[in-house]
Amino acid sequence: MMEHWLQILVLGLLLGGVYAMMASGLTLLFGVMRVVNLAHAAFILIAAYITYALFENLTLDPMISLVVTMPLMFGLGVGLYLLLFPRLEESPRYVEMTVLLTFGLALIVEGLLTFTFTGIFRSVRPDYAATSLTIGDIFLPTSQLYASLISFALLILLWVVLRFTKTGTAIRATMQNRAAAQIVGVNVRWISALAFGLGMSLAGAAGSLLSFMFPFFPARHWQWIALLLALIVLGGMGSIKGAVIGALLLAVASAFVTDLVGPTWSPITFYLTLFVILLVRPQGLFGAKVRL
């Protein structure tokens, strides 16, 4: 019995790790630039499709594809930010504008992906996609294990960058008080672009990892973005700590719900939890009170 719960817990954590990485990128974007990136999951899909293409044509292992997708998405992020967002900065309804803008971007990405790859379910099937590891009585699907380990590694890397590098500190400063950051000489536009790139590179990594975890098709991003948004609101928008903890908590909770009641209830857990939290604590677990 105990083993069974442990198994569920482990599966939940494995999935949670990947969710945590995706959610961190998204919440970073909000924290630094007050951008609610509705297109985040669409960009994750771009990376997934790139990984797929690399696998199909060059037999490139999806985990190695990270080396391609991460820098690519970083560049895309920096470029997109500088192109689109500074113009909105003067607008009084800035945050909402970013929602609508990224919504439009998501539609564009989805359309282009459908056009290029059609709506067929795709997935990347390296050898380890079907195997699993058994430790004691716990069985760990290899694909999830690898994805999770890489996710945690990237999260730690993110933490190191934010905590110990000068740029990372500047990003944190901008997150805490944008005006003050400007006063001490931070070029907030450039830092925002870098942070956008950073968040997007995490999306790129997520795409490569997800490509061999789940089958995907262009319209899939809506499910994922809804999930991720629920996660960051739960954790408190702008709080990376909140995103990670929220992701792990919910992934584990939904693993248990799936086990007890069935798989259809799993996503419902996310949204119901979100609504309950909104009733009780609208700013999320670690969010600042009415910092919007």
């Binding site: 003067e90 009084p92 000068k166 400063a173 400007q182 006063i183 001490v184 070029n187």
Partner: protein, 245 residues
């Protein structure tokens, strides 16, 4: 040549009306100034325009003879103009030490950074005590000292402080003004904006009275304090400025 020249500057926020309606002010190096005036006169706006947070709609701002209109705040800082705004300009979740380090963001030399930080700790011993504490948990006076200390990190030529005594108990405010007087001894030019005109003028050499977005009067701070007319018009109990709508 004056350190900073503001010539006929007109400025406003967003698509709103002009707050500054043609201000001309000359800041000499080594002197300390206090800008006073009624609410809405444009005192904070003037500082923001100089610091690069607000682009002037007309007029020019020159530093050492070089026109600086439209510069970004980080560019102004690099030129030696440091701005301390009135709202919390700290990084609340960072420690005092980290806040000071951020003050030295533009300094690449680690050794120099450490040197400056030691200097700030000497000037503000209480910061040395609280260096590992999260800035958001400090008292009002201590937070103000962090912002002042942070300004010192870049060894600025000009420091502009918006309402240094805002929200502080009188005794603490006095301490702050003491420290600001000390800036003068370090050779830093200081420009204050103070709602508490009396305290502000007592701490500086020269006073500038602003109203309706332009300079009404300027002169030695003592002179302004002593002049009963000016006191009544601008420094007395909350005098509402002529209707601005």
């Amino acid at each position: 040549m004056a350190l900073l020249e503001v010539e006929d500057v007109v400025a406003g926020y967003g698509a709103g009306p002009d707050i500054l309606t043609g201000v001309t002010v000359s800041i000499e190096e080594g002197t300390s100034y206090c800008i006073v005036g009624p609410n809405g006169a444009g005192k904070s706006t003037l500082l923001r325009a100089i610091a690069g947070f607000l682009k002037p709609r007309a007029g020019q701002i020159t530093l050492d003879g070089v026109v600086m209109n439209g510069s970004r705040p980080d560019q102004m800082l690099a030129a030696g103009v440091c701005f301390v705004p009135q709202d919390a300009s700290l990084f609340p979740m960072m420690t005092v030490r980290e806040n000071l380090t951020m003050g030295g963001y533009l300094i690449d030399d680690r050794a120099l950074l450490r040197q400056r930080m030691d200097m700030v700790y000497e000037t503000f011993p209480i910061l040395a005590e609280r260096r590992a504490q999260a800035a958001g948990t400090l008292s009002g006076g201590e937070q103000q000292m962090v912002t002042l200390g942070r300004a010192l990190m870049v060894e600025p030529r000009l420091v502009m402080i918006d309402e240094p005594s805002l929200g502080l108990a009188p005794m603490i405010a006095d301490q702050i003004f003491e420290k600001i007087r000390g800036f003068r001894d370090l050779g830093i030019t200081v420009v204050l904006v103070e709602q508490n005109a009396v305290k502000g003028l007592e701490a500086v050499d020269w006073g500038i009275v602003l109203d309706l977005g332009s300079k009404e009067f300027e002169g030695p701070a003592e002179g302004i304090l002593a002049d009963p007319r000016i006191r009544e018009l601008y420094l007395g109990k909350a005098v509402a400025s002529k209707d601005k709508g």
